[in-house]
């Protein structure tokens, strides 16, 4: 038995570019291929909340589709709960569920409760049990008052909450959430994140794979994150370790009182790599990059010796976005065109 919840080995997926989308210079006899995934090797442990981060068309959704048996890999292999996704697709399906952000699934003529019941039946959840779970989930995401509303009358956010419940109603061993908070307002997104955490804590063996455009969300929720770019995994580590990669030297920001020159000598101080100052009307903002964290004591002493008072001092932590941009080499583009 594979001790891993998910494992991929040299996973590759290509798409033939449709003839109508090829440029005139492309030879019809040699159809061009679009490489969506290129030798992906990922290992996800049971009980992990694993994040997939990547820009548009990076291959995140393609990877999820392969792991949820909707798409076959061109080469390589993938196992979910120890089961091979192509040869044992049926057994894989019994253990998983998936929710995609912005999906429009369901039947408009049915109510929220009926839609959730319908999809629970596809997993063989007994009717009474399904009804209990549905009520509990709707209450958890704050949709209980819309339980008997037809889904054609729901707002985008409410519909997204319903889709979210659909993923949990079958109590899967492994759940795939593809942009689960897309289209949700701040409060609703927070409710969803809170629910995800509680669901993971409820039964430690459950595994959750999350793709998101929201770096803060990934940072807050994920145990580990794989950064995917152009079909390749560039890095896979904990959010803290990924951020640490960006910050080679500790950086501090200080706010000093005006009218004294305590900051003048900082640049020449031993152990200070870089020092920048911005003089405002109420304070002088100083940013120092140090060779090691212990140097901050000398910095404070130097400032006080120069007659300045320290109004605030804080260590600058790099964000996950900084780590992402460092690894990928460009900014964040908020448009999803994944397959």
């Amino acid at each position: 038995m594979d001790p891993l919840a998910i494992r991929t080995v040299d996973l590759r997926r290509t798409y033939k570019t449709p003839r109508r989308q090829r440029t005139p210079s492309e030879d019809d006899a040699h159809p061009t291929e679009f490489v969506a995934l290129d030798n992906i090797n990922v290992e996800i442990r049971p009980g992990e909340l694993f994040g997939l981060l990547g820009s548009n068309g990076a291959g995140k959704t393609t990877l999820i589709k392969i792991l949820t048996t909707l798409l076959a890999p061109t080469s390589g292999s993938a196992w979910v709960d120890g089961l091979e996704v192509v040869a044992q697709a049926q057994a894989v399906r019994e253990r998983i569920n998936m929710v995609s952000g912005g999906e429009t699934s369901g039947y408009g003529v049915l109510t929220v409760r009926e839609n959730l019941w319908l999809f629970s039946q596809l997993y063989g959840v007994p009717g009474k049990e399904a009804r209990c779970r549905i009520d509990r989930l709707l209450a958890a995401v704050g949709l209980h008052d819309r339980a008997d509303t037809r889904i054609s009358h729901l707002s985008t956010g409410q519909r997204q909450k319903m889709n979210f419940c659909r993923g949990f109603v079958t109590q899967p061993q492994i759940l795939f959430l593809d942009e689960p908070t897309l289209g949700l307002d701040v409060t609703a997104a927070r409710t969803v994140r809170q629910f995800v955490r509680e669901w993971m804590n409820e039964r430690p063996g459950r595994t959750l794979v999350l793709t998101t455009h929201y770096m803060a969300e990934a940072d807050e929720l994920c145990d580990r994150i794989a950064i995917i770019h152009r079909g390749r995994v560039l890095a896979c580590d904990t959010p803290t370790a990924l951020k640490r990669r960006v910050q080679r030297y500790p950086t501090f920001e200080l706010a000093l009182t005006t009218g004294a020159n305590g900051w003048h000598g900082l640049g020449a101080l031993a152990g200070v790599q870089q020092c920048t100052c911005a003089e405002g009307s109420a304070s002088i903002d100083v940013r120092v990059t140090l060779q090691e964290e212990a140097v901050v004591g000398s910095v404070v002493q130097e400032i006080l010796r120069g007659g300045s008072q320290i109004l605030s001092l804080k260590k600058v932590e790099p964000s996950l976005e900084d780590a992402f941009i460092e690894l990928v080499g460009h900014g964040w583009v908020p448009r999803e065109v994944d397959a």
Binding site: L70, E103, L118, A339
Partner: protein, 272 residues
């Protein structure tokens, strides 16, 4: 009942549910889909009456009008349903679920049958009452049995369409349109199919609608049984054979095309 059979039934009933509930929640559709066909049935009935055709011919037209509802349901709601489900995002949820896709198809068929039965019965009753067609079935049980077999064969064909159209995607809608009118002609919904000549009508008998409607007519209007295409028992056997053939073919096609589509990415990638 085994666990697998119970699961199959659970999924079938769940998938049938939206279609059945639509009857109650969208009554406007029922009105529209009943009143309009009645108009075309009436036009044909008046034409036969003007020609002083036997009263049973009016019955042919009314029966044909009712059965047209099933044919339209089979091609539009069964055949093209997976296309709509793919567009809505339901198809990938069906495939990613551990249930049998045949159970989904069976649910679509059951729901479609239930919905259309109400429509067809309404057309038949209005037509019968309005034109006073004499009904003298040789056996109500034979009528019911033949009707059920016809449903099985017809919706079996619908399952084949659904599987095949999963592959054709967007083109499925054009194919559905292409199938609609020729089948009206070949199945002889408004006239005795024998008038097409033995060669054409023999081939047409391979359509469940042709054999089924002809058998139902012979049972309902025994006075004109001599105008039937084949003896009733032959048509019943043919329907049984077609039902088995279509359902088996649908099962085979569904498994094969799903496998193929997963390789090509056609199930989930909308630009392919």
């Amino acid at each position: 009942m085994t666990r697998a059979a119970a699961f199959f039934m659970r999924v079938t009933l769940a998938r049938a549910y939206p279609r059945v509930i639509a009857l109650r929640r969208q009554p406007g559709w029922l009105l529209l889909e009943t009143v309009l066909p009645i108009l075309s049935v009436s036009a044909m009935a008046f034409a036969y009456r003007a020609m002083q055709a036997p009263e049973e011919y009016l019955g042919f037209v009314i029966l044909g009008g009712a059965m047209t509802a099933f044919w339209l349901n089979v091609i539009w709601s069964m055949g093209a349903q997976f296309y709509w489900d793919r567009e809505a995002g339901n198809l990938e949820l069906f495939i990613a679920a551990p249930c049998s896709m045949m159970a989904i198809l069976a649910g679509m068929a059951l729901g479609g049958m239930a919905l259309t039965l109400v429509r067809a019965l309404t057309i038949f009753l209005i037509g019968w009452l309005a034109f006073g067609v004499p009904l003298a079935p040789t056996s109500w049980w034979a009528l019911l049995g033949t009707f059920l077999l016809l449903m099985l064969a017809l919706y079996g064909l619908g399952m084949v369409f659904a599987s095949a159209f999963l592959w054709w995607g967007r083109q499925a809608l054009h194919i559905v349109s292409l199938l609609q009118e020729p089948v009206y002609l070949l199945s002889g919904l408004n006239f005795p199919v024998r008038v097409l000549g033995s060669a054409v009508s023999s081939v047409a008998a391979l359509l469940p609608l042709t054999a089924g409607v002809d058998a139902l007519r012979q049972i309902l209007f025994p006075r004109l049984a001599d105008q039937g295409l084949l003896p009733v028992w032959v048509e019943v056997m043919l329907l049984a054979l077609l039902a088995v053939l279509f359902i088996s073919l649908a099962r085979y096609l569904l498994a094969r095309l799903e496998r193929r589509a997963r390789h090509d990415g056609r199930l989930t990638v909308r630009w392919l």
